[in-house]
Assembly symmetry: C4
Homo-oligomer: 171 residues x 4
């Protein structure tokens, strides 16, 4: 979460995300430098790519649901959602007659390189509202933490929708 113009709160590296307390959250600047000397999350570069490119991004969330992992392996380049009222949950979408792309990037342990790939994609395809890393999980963001949470809830809804719909589609 963005605390000030170039001051960000992020989880400490290696923390159990199901059991966080205040000491598991640290502060870094937009270049990734830690004031406290603690080591920030291994995926810090993916968070920084978003905060740097758009000053209106105030929060970034990254999750690893089973549904996100499965969906990331079912398609080559992107999932696309159309004609759903729920698309109105995303900032700037005011009708179900919209189209939301959720791009999928191949996973790598080279997070700096992955962040550059995400940035290049956004320069041509647009920033969008989230993306999947294959076999790994979901990133989403928003102007406030509340917006980001709403986008996360909406994306998880869409992933569950995709899986249920395709599971029965052959009937």
């Amino acid at each position: 979460m963005r605390l000030g113009e170039s001051d960000l709160a992020i989880t400490v590296s290696g923390t159990d995300k199901g059991n966080l307390d205040a000491a598991d959250i640290m502060s870094i600047d937009l270049s990734g430098h830690s004031v406290s000397g603690k080591k920030s999350s291994a995926e810090t570069s993916l968070h920084l790519q978003l905060y740097r490119r758009d000053p209106n991004i105030g929060a970034v969330l990254h999750t690893h649901s089973v549904n996100a992992t499965v969906c990331s392996e079912l398609v080559a380049d992107e999932l696309r959602f159309e004609g759903l009222e729920l698309l109105k949950a995303f900032d700037g979408i005011t009708s179900h007659e919209a189209s939301l792309a959720l791009p999928v990037f191949d996973n790598t342990q080279d997070i700096v390189s992955l962040a550059e790939q995400v940035e290049r994609h956004m320069r041509t395809a647009g920033q969008g509202h989230g993306y999947l890393i294959r076999g790994h999980g979901l990133y989403t963001w928003g102007t406030t933490m509340s917006d980001c949470m709403r986008h996360l809830e909406a994306l998880e809804y869409l992933l569950e929708y995709h899986l249920i719909k395709n599971g029965v589609a052959k009937q």
Copy 2:
């Protein structure tokens, strides 16, 4: 929920339905006019269509479950449920040897027009106990809020039943 003969409680436009408090509920009359000047839910016309047509309707609920959205896209005109004990959860049904239709209407952002379409359908097909809007969600109603909640629980049960049954039906 109906408060008096022509006095209705409804959610304020744009509220987070997972985080409602008293200020998110407002009062309107049967023509949709707001006493307080607050703006009521974007789907007010769909609620009014029901309260106007039947003075015995005391409560209307609208939900957006993943199951409702998926089911609304699996059929052309309606889902039909037959031979299930659970049908006795609906007012006026006293045996499993009944047939419940759940019509599906195409989604539109023109809610007034959609409300008219629902009204026309009910005049020929009967009022029923609920309907789906395609890619959007579920409407149901009842004499009391408790009846309406029971209808909602029963409809969500039937939607889950439909999806699980069709997911394994080809075995």
Copy 3:
């Protein structure tokens, strides 16, 4: 639940099973007569059939899960479970090398006739540990309420197992 040799506790007719309080439970004898004059559950005869045939039955539970309803419609006469460690949850079963039949009876609103059909089946096929009513739900029983609850949990486990396994079996 059996309170004494011929004294049974049962729910009052028409109660909301998700919202029971003490006044929703009444006492009847083995012939179904109510001391208080309250009307007992519409399915009282199905409970009495079990308490009458076996003095060791101290508790009977009847549920309506979606999984039970779907499973009851997937087979003609019975579900059969074999080779599962969980079968040891049932009284008298001490190895996974066992076979548990869960018979399915067609639903009817004539509960007295259904109870007679269940009794006839048990006289030839054995009492077993539970049965399904098609499109309706599950009955199970036990020596104590704790045994009955364990049987219920085990049967719901087996029904979920059956549905998940058959949902992916064609891979």
Copy 4:
């Protein structure tokens, strides 16, 4: 859980695992002898095999989820997971470019013989992080109880992933 070099805490035989209290946990040594005279879990030999072979194993957990039971019946010898970020949840795995085998052993009520079979398998295939018993459940372990819980959560994630992915794979 290992309490000292040759002192282990284990559940008493026949306890309801959903309703444990302190009296349901007893102490045994590495040869399985009980100090208190209570009888330990019927599967004590499977726990001992792990504590004996590796002094770094401080905790062992055994569960019976529906997903584990279904998965154990879908494959002949093992499930194998590759290319998933979640593999980093296991001790010693630092990249998604890893391969985790989850072997499946046939169930038997002869637990001593099963423990010998597990030991033989580990001598050739390596100790790994867990295994399934067919139609029965899952065993996993770790240096501390916290590590063991993380392995359990990760294995249940992978089992759910396997089932969801294969349920929609034919689309």
